[in-house]
Symmetry: C2
Subunit: 298 residues, 2 copies
Amino acid sequence: MSVSIGFVGFGEAGSHIAQGLTGQGVSGITAYDLHANTPGRGEKIRERAAWAGVELVAAPSELAQRAQVILSVVTANAAEEAAAQNAPFLTPDHLYADLNSVSPGTKQRIQGIIESAGASFVEVAVMAPVPPYLHQVPMLLNGTSAPRFSEQLSPFGMKFQVIDDQPGVAAATKMCRSVIVKGIESLVMESMLASTYYGADERVWASLNETFPGMDWKKLADYVVGRVAVHGERRAREMEEVAATLEEAHVDPEMTRAIVRRMDWSVEQGMRAQWGIEGPKSYAEVADFVREQMIAKR
Amino acid sequence: MSVSIGFVGFGEAGSHIAQGLTGQGVSGITAYDLHANTPGRGEKIRERAAWAGVELVAAPSELAQRAQVILSVVTANAAEEAAAQNAPFLTPDHLYADLNSVSPGTKQRIQGIIESAGASFVEVAVMAPVPPYLHQVPMLLNGTSAPRFSEQLSPFGMKFQVIDDQPGVAAATKMCRSVIVKGIESLVMESMLASTYYGADERVWASLNETFPGMDWKKLADYVVGRVAVHGERRAREMEEVAATLEEAHVDPEMTRAIVRRMDWSVEQGMRAQWGIEGPKSYAEVADFVREQMIAKR
């Protein structure tokens, strides 16, 4: 069975999925990136294409000619525009999957654009960060074309959960889940900063372990504080999309906006530069670093 | 062994602890409440005293004469003033325990006031809501006089964990724990309001159950949304004290302030009046109610 795969956008997510597929023996993968010839950014994109064994094409029209299954992996704010740029060249043979972290409303508008062009649309919610998993990152697929998309790409080891629900439900699941997952990260960061100041951190984790049996809060704190230190920026931007999702549902995103601010704060502290991609080994390192920064600023 | 117990303040917490102790055969309990003769409030206080088998006294001086172990259970913002009003009448024989939900800094100031008067101080953090547990509500005791306090009251079934740590650590433990416990409640409320709108709630819980094995998120959601619906006001005020605790530790309480707003919002929705003290049976009831309210307001 042969499938021609094309990417719209070739940043971190797209290049890692493509590299994983190439490693599974998939050949002839193409990609179109608006910024392939932008000085600086373009070089990075061309490096990624070489690394992933992917051919960059010059225009959406060429992408549509070369690829039958198209995966949109741009930035959240460019997802709708990307659909609009590619739609004119799509045919009923095309499967267009939007993998971007956008609100259910945006997913539905993209679906409208793609289906108006006569092509098939697949709503995709990427449920974990791509890089460690490459093409095997878990994805939630939604819509009538989801089974066909799954049949074509599952043979290469991609991990899909296929649902057939209202348009936007996959995106909503991801976004509402993120309120809680990224929210707990932010709560642990905020609580830890204060509990370490008072020397009460061990007692707090012990008390929480009693309230939530089956959780190891100290271990969780080390892990999530490390993740926030390294990936605060990505989390802040994702949570802005989550806030939009809540507003579409007429819910005031009080907690979600606070998560954005907590994440942005960790970025401003310069944690990424302090530890690099490896991140800190424990929350205690982060507590010490934040306090040293504070004293230095006085 | 005989112990004379007195309460400073006789609201919900104090009267429920006293009632539990009376039930254990403790006699001669006294209480002083500043508002015992305030029209309206006073009647309620006198009713509570009769219910709990407690004698109200007219002044702090009388309380100090009648009781050797004094428990302060006022409102958070009155805790320091209560200590100052009672301190002049205390002797080295007195044990003064502050049970109020105040910041570690406030606990330390109260300790200073009591110890300057020559009496012994016990820092107490009440770790659960009093009413269902009465005198058996779990308490974290801190300080050099904590073992003596525990010896005197444990025989009546009171539940203490005794630590001997820096002043304020018991309060800090409670407060930093609340960031996470009340924070999760607020996250679940916010996420649930959106996920039910999109019809994605069951999928969100299923996904969270995979991420946090050992947790049942749907069950947790029913429980915590119900608690927030009934006790949002109490939680909002407690979280204001938590915010003060974080600020004392030079931590910007971004998440904590958002929790206050989420709790206040649930109060404004009129959830308490809708369901009474029993509360709603499921989060779905709350989601429906909030949406009906919103439609009604348009």
